[in-house]
Symmetry: C2
Subunit: 339 residues, 2 copies
DNA sequence: TTTTTTTCGTGAAACGATTAAGCTTATATT
DNA sequence: AATATAAGCTTAATCGTTTCACGAAAAAAA
C-alpha cells in the first residue's frame, strides 16, 4: 500500500508545456484529428508519448461545458427497487456504456412533483437525453421536453398525444392472449386486477382483457385498484371471490408485477386453491411466481430488448436523428401450473 | 401543446445585462452572499426579480468545473438487478437527493476489470465520492482511491487492510444467531451454502456458522460455491443431501440472497420436504421466500439504514471530515416455517 | 526571382460560473 | 479640511477543453 499523495490531475496544458506546443495541438491529437488538422508526424508521436507518460485523462466536465454534451442519459422510472425496472436499468446501463454513455437513474414514485423535480435536476446536469417511464397523469414535463426537442424515449408506457419515441409491450395482445388462453382452458368467469389510471399501457391491457371476454360472450369482472392502497383495495376487490358472492369468478388475471405479488399474498391468505378454486395469470415474471405453490403462469416481457432498444433509439436521437420510433415488442405467455 | 422553439438557456450574463450590473453581483445574490459581499438592497431585489422572471437555472456543469465539485456520488454495486442492491440503491438515491446530490449507479459483476473501468469512468466524471461494494479480490483500485483521499465508504463488505469507512452487517452475529437457532430447534447436522471467496463478509458469515457448530460439538458441513457456476455447483453441493450419503444433513443455512433462491430451486427439484427432510434459513429476504411452500425463515438486513448511513458518512467526508467510520448493523432473524 | 499554395503551428475566444483584488464614491474620524 | 474607513460595484482571472481565425515557413508554381 504505497502512500502516494493526492496529486493534481494533469491537464492538456501540462502536456502542451511538456512537449512545448500549444494546447490546440494536443487536443487535436487527443481527438484523433491529427490528419484533418495536419499535425506533424513527429509531434504526433511526441504528444502521444507525453499523454501516455503523464497518464492523462480528459476532464469530462470541462469537455461537457465546452461541447454542451455530457455523454450522460437520465433514466426515470417509477421505482428502481421494482425488479422490472432494476432489470431494465441493468440493460440500459450495459448498453449505454457500450456507447460511452453513463446513466443516472431516478425514481418518481408515480408522482408528478417528483417526476418534475427529477427531470429538472437532470436537465440542470445537462443529460443528453432521457429514457422515461412517464408517471400517471404527468404530461406537462414530457410535453415540455418534447417541445424543447430534448431527446427522449418513453418505455413501458407512452403518452398518446405526444409524438415522441417509445418502446413498449404489445399490451393489448399480451392480455388478450392471456385471457384467451384462460378461456380455452375452460374458465368462464374471468376477472382482472388492474390499476385505475389513465396510463395507456394499463388501458391497453384492460382493453385486451375486455375484448377477449366480449368475443367469447363471457361476463366482465374488472377490479380497478388505486395506487397506494394496495392491500385494502385488493382485499376489497377479491372479496367477491368469496363463495358467498353470486358473481363468483374462476380465474384472475393480474395486470402487473406488483399487482400479481400483492394478489398472491391475498389469495394465500384467503386459502383459495389454485387453480381449482381460482386460476391465475401473472405479469412480468418474478422468482416469487416460481415458488408460489402452484407456479404461476405469466406474461413475460422482453425487458432486456426494451432497455437495449431504448438506448439505441435515444442515442440515435442524441446524434441528431429526427426519426421517431414507435416500437411494440411481443409478449410471451409462460405456461405453468396456475391455470 | 404549445410549440415553443428550443431556446438557449439564460446565463448569469444574461441576467447581469438585463439588470445592468456585473455577473459578480448576480452570482453573489444567487448564492445568498448579498450580505457578506454588501450588495445594495435595491439591486438585490432587482436581481432576484430578474432571476425569477427570466427563469434562470444555474448551469451545473460550469459550476462543477469552477468548484471542482459535482454534487454527484458514484454507487458501485455488483449487480443493480439484484433486489438487495436495487433496494439499497433506492435508499441511497432518496437520501442523497435530500443533500442535493445525484447518484450514478454502476454494476461490477464481481469483476475486477469492470470495477476498475467503472471507478475510472466515474472519476473522470468527477464524482465527489463513492459508495462501493468492493468486488472479490479487487483491492488495488480501492487502495488507490483511499490513497488519493477520494471520499468513499464501502457497504455490504469491506477490505480489511484498508482504513476507509465502511458500513456492514454484523455478519458473524447474523449467521451465529441463525445457526444457534437451528441448534436450539434440535437440528444436529447443519450445513451452510456459501461463496468461495476472500471477501470478508462471507468469511465472517462462515466463521459465525463454524463457531456456532463448534461450540455445540456438532459436525461441520460447509459447501463452498464458486461464482458463476451456481446451478451445477449447487447441485453437487446438495448431493450429499440425498439419503444415500452417510453425511446426511438436516438443516441448511444459505449465506446470501442469490444462494438462497438458487438453493430453493434445487431443493424443490430434489423433492425434499421442508422442514421435515431439511430445515432452511435464508439470507436477505425476498418475496420468493414468502411463497416457498414452507415460508423461509431468514436473516434480515437493515438495508434501508445501510443506504442512509452510507450517504450520510460519505457526505460528511466530502465536506471535509477526516473521521473514519466503521459501522456494523445488527441483523434480525425473521422466524417462519422453514425450521 | 517572385508569387501562390500548402503545411504546420499558435493565439485566443468561447462554454458559464465563482471570487480575489481593485476601484469609486460616500461616510466617519481626527 | 485632511485622512481613514466603509459601502457598493466592476474587472478579470480561473476551471480544462475545443476550435476558429490567423501567421510563418516551406514547397510549388509562375
Amino acid at each position: 500500500m504505497v502512500n502516494k499523495k493526492k496529486s493534481k490531475r494533469v491537464s492538456l496544458k501540462d502536456i502542451a508545456e511538456k512537449v512545448g506546443v500549444s494546447t490546440a495541438l494536443v487536443s487535436y491529437v487527443l481527438n484523433g484529428q491529427e490528419k484533418e488538422k495536419r499535425v506533424g508526424e513527429k509531434l504526433v508521436t511526441e504528444i502521444r508519448a507525453a499523454l501516455k507518460e503523464m497518464n492523462y485523462v480528459p476532464n469530462h466536465i470541462a469537455r461537457s461545458l465546452r461541447n454542451g454534451k455530457t455523454q450522460t442519459i437520465g433514466f426515470i422510472v417509477t421505482d428502481i427497487a421494482n425488479p422490472f425496472f432494476s432489470t431494465m436499468a441493468r440493460c440500459v446501463e450495459d448498453e449505454a456504456s457500450k456507447y460511452g454513455y453513463t446513466v443516472i437513474i431516478g425514481s418518481s414514485d408515480e408522482n408528478c412533483e417528483k417526476s418534475k423535480r427529477l427531470v429538472n435536476t437532470l436537465l440542470n446536469r445537462q443529460v443528453d437525453g432521457f429514457i422515461i417511464v412517464p408517471a400517471d397523469g404527468c404530461y406537462d414535463y414530457a410535453v415540455t421536453l418534447a417541445n424543447d426537442e430534448v431527446p427522449m424515449v418513453m418505455v413501458d408506457r407512452y403518452i398518446p398525444d405526444l409524438t415522441s419515441s417509445y418502446i413498449v409491450l404489445e399490451n393489448f395482445k399480451a392480455s388478450f392472449d392471456a385471457v384467451q388462453y384462460l378461456i380455452k382452458k375452460g374458465y368462464k368467469n374471468i376477472g382482472m386486477l388492474a390499476y385505475k389510471t389513465s396510463l395507456i399501457h394499463m388501458k391497453e391491457r384492460i382493453r385486451g382483457y375486455e375484448e377477449a371476454v366480449r368475443l367469447n360472450g363471457l361476463e366482465k369482472n374488472l377490479y380497478n385498484i388505486r395506487y397506494g392502497f394496495l392491500k385494502s383495495d385488493i382485499h376489497k376487490a377479491l372479496q367477491s371471490l368469496d363463495g358467498s358472492s353470486k358473481n363468483k369468478i374462476d380465474a384472475l388475471f393480474f395486470a402487473t408485477n406488483t399487482l400479481s405479488i400483492a394478489g398472491l399474498y391475498q389469495i394465500r391468505q384467503m386459502n383459495l386453491k389454485v387453480p381449482q378454486d381460482i386460476a391465475l395469470i401473472g405479469f412480468d415474471g418474478n422468482e416469487a411466481f416460481d415458488f408460489f405453490y402452484s407456479p404461476l403462469t405469466y406474461v413475460k416481457q422482453p425487458v432486456y430488448e426494451m432497455g437495449k432498444e431504448a438506448v439505441r433509439i435515444l442515442i440515435e436521437q442524441i446524434d441528431g436523428s429526427k426519426k421517431i420510433s414507435h416500437i411494440s415488442l411481443p409478449p410471451q405467455l409462460v405456461l405453468r401450473d396456475s391455470c
